[in-house]
C-alpha cells in the first residue's frame, strides 16, 4: 500500500520544492533567497529518504546524511556579505 502512495507523496513534496523556487525568484532580499535554499535542502533530504525507502536503496540515506551535514555551509558563506542593494 505504501509503495502505491509513495510516488504521489514524492510528487507533492517536489511541487513544494518548485513552489519554493518562486520565493527564490522573487526575493526581494538575498536573505529570502537563501531561505528558499534552506527549504530546498530540507525538502531534498526528505525526498531522498523517501526514495531510499521506495526503491530499497539504503545508501541514499547516507546521501541524505551528507546533505544535512553540509546544509548550513551556504548560510555560513553568506554571513557577513554586504547587502548589495535592491533589484
Amino acid at each position: 500500500m505504501i509503495a502505491a502512495v509513495m510516488p504521489w507523496l514524492l510528487v507533492f513534496l517536489m511541487l513544494n520544492l518548485a513552489a519554493g523556487l518562486w520565493r527564490a525568484w522573487q526575493g526581494p532580499t538575498d536573505g529570502d533567497r537563501l531561505l528558499s535554499a534552506l527549504l530546498f535542502g530540507t525538502t531534498s533530504i526528505a525526498l531522498l529518504l523517501m526514495i531510499a525507502e521506495w526503491l530499497a536503496l539504503p545508501t541514499l540515506r547516507s546521501v541524505a546524511l551528507l546533505l544535512v551535514m553540509f546544509a548550513s555551509i551556504l548560510s555560513l558563506a553568506f554571513f557577513g556579505m554586504p547587502e548589495h542593494g535592491d533589484d
Partner: protein, 99 residues
C-alpha cells in the same frame, strides 16, 4: 498495521512541509518567513523520519534516520540564526543610508 501508522505519519509530515512552504510564500517579512518555515519544516522532517524509521529494515537504519533529523535541527537552527542576523545588519545599513 504498522504500514497504516507510518502512512499517517508520512502524510502528516508532508502536510507540515506544505505549511512551511505556504509560510515562505505568503508571509510579509523575511523574519516571519524564517520563523514559519524553519519550525514547520523541522516538524515535517521529524514525522517523515519517524514514519520511515517504522518502515525501515533494521535498528541501524532507524538510528541513522534519527541522526539525520537531529543534524537537520542543528543545521536549520544555525542557518536561520545567521540569515536573520544578516537581514538585521542589512536593515541597519539601509536605515543608515536613509532609505
Amino acid at each position: 498495521m504498522i504500514d497504516v501508522f507510518a502512512l499517517v505519519l508520512l502524510i502528516g509530515g508532508c502536510g507540515f512541509m506544505f505549511a512551511g512552504t505556504v509560510g515562505l510564500l505568503r508571509l510579509p517579512d523575511v523574519y516571519c518567513r524564517l520563523h514559519a518555515q524553519t519550525k514547520a519544516d523541522n516538524l515535517g522532517l521529524l514525522l517523515i523520519c519517524a514514519a520511515l524509521a517504522l518502515l525501515s529494515e533494521s535498528l541501524l537504519a532507524a538510528s541513522l534516520l534519527l541522526l539525520i533529523w537531529l543534524l537537520g535541527l542543528v543545521a536549520s537552527t544555525v542557518s536561520a540564526h545567521l540569515i536573520a542576523r544578516h537581514a538585521r545588519a542589512a536593515e541597519r545599513v539601509d536605515r543608515g543610508k536613509g532609505r
